[in-house]
């Protein structure tokens, strides 16, 4: 039963709220990630730890973690605590964002072919421009 010191209370769960506990937890993980309080690779307390610390049913906690995993925000690690996923892991969101620039890329590729530019030369230019931006 000795599990070391209790984890810090990083969540605020209100069982009496009209918002189910799993939704409260999902919203808070999302917010903590968006604000940078939980960085990629940060460990999440286990389902058991959260359920015990807040005296709430573990089913609703594991439901939250499962849905966050489906979203790509957290990842399950064999035999280790769940962690916040690397940002690029959010494949679906990445694909969606790439689709937004696809038309511009198409015209860029067309122009590059007409000018006999190699892909590597074009990519080098894009990288240079993007570094200037930031």
């Amino acid at each position: 039963m000795d599990r070391g010191p209790p984890p810090p209370r990083i969540f605020i769960l209100e069982p009496a709220s009209g918002v189910p506990i799993y939704r409260q937890l999902m919203d808070q993980v999302r917010r903590l990630v968006a604000s940078g309080h939980l960085a990629p690779g940060a460990e999440l307390p286990s389902v058991r730890e959260v359920a015990s610390e807040y005296t709430v049913n573990p089913t609703t906690i594991s439901k939250a973690y499962g849905l966050l995993e489906l979203e790509g925000l957290v990842q399950r690690n064999r035999g280790k605590p769940m962690t916040i996923a690397p940002l690029r892991r959010n494949q679906q969101a990445l694909a969606q964002r790439l689709r937004q620039v696809e038309a511009q890329v198409d015209s860029l590729v067309l122009a590059a072919r007409q000018l006999d530019l190699e892909a590597a030369e074009l990519i080098a230019l894009i990288e240079q421009k993007m570094q200037e931006e930031t």
Partner: protein, 319 residues
């Protein structure tokens, strides 16, 4: 039991019945308790009607109802203390009213009125129960005696209500039952003891084969630890399903229109309606996120949605 059973409730959202498990035991997926069309009539008075519901292993079910709604009668029928007037009740796949001894040994029950022996001390009562159960977990009991501060050296007749309740609960936990049923378990406990007790319920149900059902009118306890909630009203189940789903399903919607509202709104699942001029407030069941936009477009109204805690949902179902 004061209520008659003919008032209609919101449709119960019965969990689906899973098939029997491969090895034939009730431990792996098949319901621990299965009620089908259960009715109970005592002295011409309907106490329970049309109750069909299952409990899956590993769940914590909170049974919620007003005084006299039928909570204790339902537990009596489930555990076979009295036969249903109609329908069937099964525990571990066996007829509740003819439970074999082996099935009874897998049940722990704490009645609303404890059955402690007043002339014994707590220690003597515990020793008596331990002797009756071959699989008594003395280490668990010793731990809980310490954590819950259960007095052992005084006669039971001088114990407080809360102390009696703790002792009675210990007696039901010692043989590590697969099914633990508690009728108003925490009613006499102070907040600290209640929290410790709730932790213990969570520990028990952590095992996927162990199941807890407790009746209560303390909504906040139920909201913490129950995964399923049954709301019983006038002897009928007004809701049986996930607590999370209940909270997502029942919401208060406020519609603000340019003009007055017609007296008949063609909306499904209205539990209650309040009108204040151009503003109409509805409590709805069967809510889905899309309905907010649908309603706004249909009536050209401003639609705001408020989520309700279990206490408010309970009150709305009884309004």
């Amino acid at each position: 039991m004061m209520d008659s059973g003919n008032a209609g409730g919101a449709p119960a959202n019965n969990p689906s019945v899973k098939g029997p498990s491969v090895d034939g035991s009730a431990a792996n997926g098949s319901p621990v308790i299965s009620l089908r069309d259960v009715g109970k009539v005592i002295g011409g008075k309907t106490i329970l009607s049309d109750i069909s519901v299952d409990i899956e292993p590993g769940s914590i079910v909170g049974l919620l109802g007003k005084n006299g709604a039928g909570k204790t009668s339902l537990i009596d029928v489930m555990l076979g203390f009295s036969p249903p007037s109609s329908g069937s009740s099964r525990v571990f796949g066996e007829n509740s009213f003819e439970l074999p001894a082996a099935a009874k040994r897998r049940i722990g029950f704490v009645p609303q009125q404890d059955e402690l022996l007043d002339s014994l001390t707590g220690a003597q009562q515990l020793a008596l129960n331990a002797a009756l159960h071959p699989a008594w977990d003395q280490a668990l009991i010793a731990r809980l005696i310490g954590e819950w501060e259960v007095p052992l050296d005084r006669r039971i007749q001088v114990l407080s209500g809360g102390e009696r309740q703790k002792l009675a609960t210990l007696l039901a936990l010692g043989h590590e039952p697969d099914l633990l049923v508690l009728d108003e378990p925490a009613s006499s406990l102070d907040p600290v003891a209640r929290r410790q007790f709730l932790r213990e319920l969570l520990d028990i149900a952590e095992s996927p084969t162990r199941t807890v059902l407790f009746s209560t009118h303390i909504v906040s306890d139920l909201e913490r630890v129950a995964s399923k909630v049954w709301i019983i009203r006038d002897g009928r189940l007004a809701w049986a399903g996930d607590l999370d789903t209940l909270k997502e399903s029942v919401v208060r919607v406020t519609l603000l229109a340019r003009d007055a509202w017609p007296s008949q709104l063609d909306i499904d699942g209205v539990i209650s309606r309040r009108d204040e001029g151009r503003r109409v407030q509805l409590v709805l069941t069967g809510w889905r996120e899309e309905r907010q936009r649908e309603m706004a477009e249909r009536w050209g109204a401003e639609v705001s949605v408020e989520r309700l805690g279990l206490e408010e949902i309970f009150l709305e179902l009884h309004s």
